[in-house]
């Protein structure tokens, strides 16, 4: 259950290869990559800074993976989340899961990113022509998580 918080970029192909290596029972790999957009709430975003809560972040991500593994039959799950300065087009987050079949993998991957958006202690600060601003949490993220309520 690897979970990583890092300033460096990640390579999807390399991560996928490591996740699958030596597991011929895997029949499905689903990944999600979140990236930095150049426009948010009508303002141009030149750069953003991602802050997090070292220690709690890793625990929160591991807890989300544990919840996903309890709900779906997965072989493995990976979360890589970047912190520090990021620019439009940069990759922010990778979620990848492996399973025997696609249904479990699709659902678990979406569940993990939905929960991450609500529960993992990361905060974005954007640099715009009007100055720096902290990004507000979105109501739509809460709505996205509610669909997973049992």
């Amino acid at each position: 259950m690897p979970v990583r918080v890092q300033t460096e970029d990640f390579d999807l192909t390399t991560e996928m290869a490591e996740l699958r290596a030596g597991f011929p029972k895997i029949g499905a790999v689903v990944s999600f990559v979140g990236t930095v957009r150049d426009l948010n709430e009508g303002e141009q975003v030149a750069e953003m800074e991602l802050e997090h809560y070292p220690g709690m972040t890793e625990k929160a991500l591991e807890d989300i993976v544990t919840q996903a593994r309890a709900r779906w039959d997965l072989f493995d799950a990976l979360i890589v989340h970047r912190v520090g300065p990021l620019k439009p087009l940069d990759q922010i987050v990778l979620v990848a899961v492996t399973s025997a079949h696609r249904g479990e993998a699709f659902a678990a991957c979406e569940f993990i990113i939905d929960y991450l958006k609500i529960q993992a202690p990361f905060w974005k600060k954007e640099q715009t022509p009007q100055g720096a601003r902290w990004v507000d949490a979105r109501v739509s993220d809460d709505v996205a998580m509610q669909k997973w309520a049992q």
Partner: protein, 79 residues
Amino acid sequence: MQIHLRFFASLREAVGTSQETLELPADVKTANQVREHLRARRLADGRALRMAYNQQMAEPGTPLSEGCELAFFPPVTGG
């Protein structure tokens, strides 16, 4: 009781520090009571706020313990 406070993101900037140690009055026993105790520090006046007790999301009524870590931060915006 002595506890360790942590502040993140916009709350860290509003409070002006990222962490400090605080000696609590005897009648301050829960996470939300600490928030009220610190009201003069502009801790989230009118803004949404989340709390974590020993690096786990806390409820307003979460009880505190000697030497615990209590963190204040805005709703998260990662991913």
